[in-house]
Amino acid sequence: MTDAWPLVAALRDPASTQALDAHGWNALIAMARAERLVGTLAHRLADIQVPDAVRPILADARLDTDREAAQALWEADRAAQALGPLGIPVILLKGTAYAAAGLRAGEGRFIGDLDILVPRDRLDAVEAALFAAGWEWVKPDPYDDAYYRQWMHELPPMIHATRDRMIDVHHTILPLTARQTPDAAAMIADAVPIGNGLSILSPEDRLCHAAAHLFADGDLAGGLRNLWDIHCLLVDGMEHDPDFGLSVMERAAHHQLAKAVWRALRLAYRLYATPVKACRAPALFDYRPQRGDWLFAARMLARDGWGRETRKALRFAFFVRSHWLRMPPAMLARHLWTKWRKGHRPA
């Protein structure tokens, strides 16, 4: 079975693309588009000699991601404007944060919705302020609404009526029903202001959040992209502090995320050759594969040269796992039953 190794190889070592023939390039581009990594690939290959037919494809990808970044920053600006009077920190998460702070992970990154983190005790005020500024609910279903409000780490998604862009307002980084409880108050307290009323998480918390998002929540859709974020965040962090990996693990332990973060670092090392540093003291960390890692890697690489999803059974298993992680069994059974009756079927 073919899988997405050529994409991983091209990202970790752009020069490896010199060996590709037309078939190889077609596969690489289809995989990169399907994994929403084509903009990142275009940035990685910026200084590499590529065939004439590939150059405009990469230029188009750069154009698209540059426009997306501009659009994402404008959305962040609009949110800052709407929430300014509340006097609370508006913390950008994920793609928008990387773009706003000029981080390596933001280079060529596809940015979807605007994700922000705000203090939980100010959620009502945030909601009201966003409404007043033109955002409205996406999901009119009362069950979905209750699902988000009771159990999730974010408000139901909202969309701006005229700009047609979504915003996810988080008050913590994992569902309330998940088994781990990260310390959202500490994340907010340690956030780094970047001007214009906006902040981003501290370098350690950025990595904890990316790892939690990838391995403690969700079904690993877009896994290669999210793992690339983790690779970049670690490389950025180590430029300032050679022991950055260690401070990340320390912070992860505080957030009950040590398992997810360690797995993230092991898999980033294995797939993207992230320059992690093993250590023996104060705690033993190495980056040899551990039980189950190969399953995560296989799931993330489940994409063929036509951009098709492969390993259907493994994908489904991770879909089931994502729900298992999110809530206790009885609650999960009730949730799935309700969604099934409403006609929802897993893809």
Partner: protein
Amino acid sequence: MRHSLTLRIGPATFRVGSAWRAPVDDLARLYADYPQERDAIADFTVRLDPTSALRRFFRPSIHITGDHGLADAAPMSLAHGLLAAEMGMNLQMALGWRRHLLLHASSVEKDGRALVMTGESGSGKSTLAAQLGERGWRLMGDEFALLDCVTGALHPFPRLVSLKNKAIDVIASEVSESRMGPLLAATAKGDIRHLVPRADAVARMAQPAMPALLLFPRFGGEAAVRPVGQGEVFMRLTQASTNYVALGEPAFAALSRFVATVPAAAIDFPSGDAGIALVDQLWADLP
């Protein structure tokens, strides 16, 4: 994928993969005179997937997708496989093309100058372009016109012309059977047959032309010509473009220049012959 074909139309190269042989065979035959290099690097991948494992064999049903896809794409019968492949290529262009401003318009060329026709589906722009293409004009495309944002030139995208319902007989009566695709009966848009553009349209598909006249055709009603103001032309062309927003300022500049320099009119015509007569008259009146 099991069956595949790489195909170049105008400036774009497509890699079409299909779970079934028939759609690829149809494409290979109807696009026989177009470049089909097995070892080309494609701009886009198009896939005709079964909607489920069962639907590969039992009452086969096609899910059209590729680099760009629509979550709610309607499944299509394998009997309409050729149409599915065409729609798959159109979808990639509409959602992914960034090298020109893409206008949902037909276009034909004469003496190095292009006539552009835009309008809703069913306005007759496709049929009119096909008819002009048989009468001394070079067909540049029946679906997408590609405007170069730097030079202002129009680039051809001469894919197969998609003829619908009554237009099928009109065109089939004046071209050889070998240039007509199979009858695709009762599709979502009615009956459809594809027309292979004339050899000169294919041979010259890399040659752009400067736009000289823009028409908003409407089939039906008394023959009439109405002026259209520049503001309205601009708005209608932004609506006729799928990538105007994505291209940003260069698209605005190119479209502004197009609107300021290319005369425009709306025409009504009761028959193909009347439409052609109107076009000839307006073309002759150009400075």
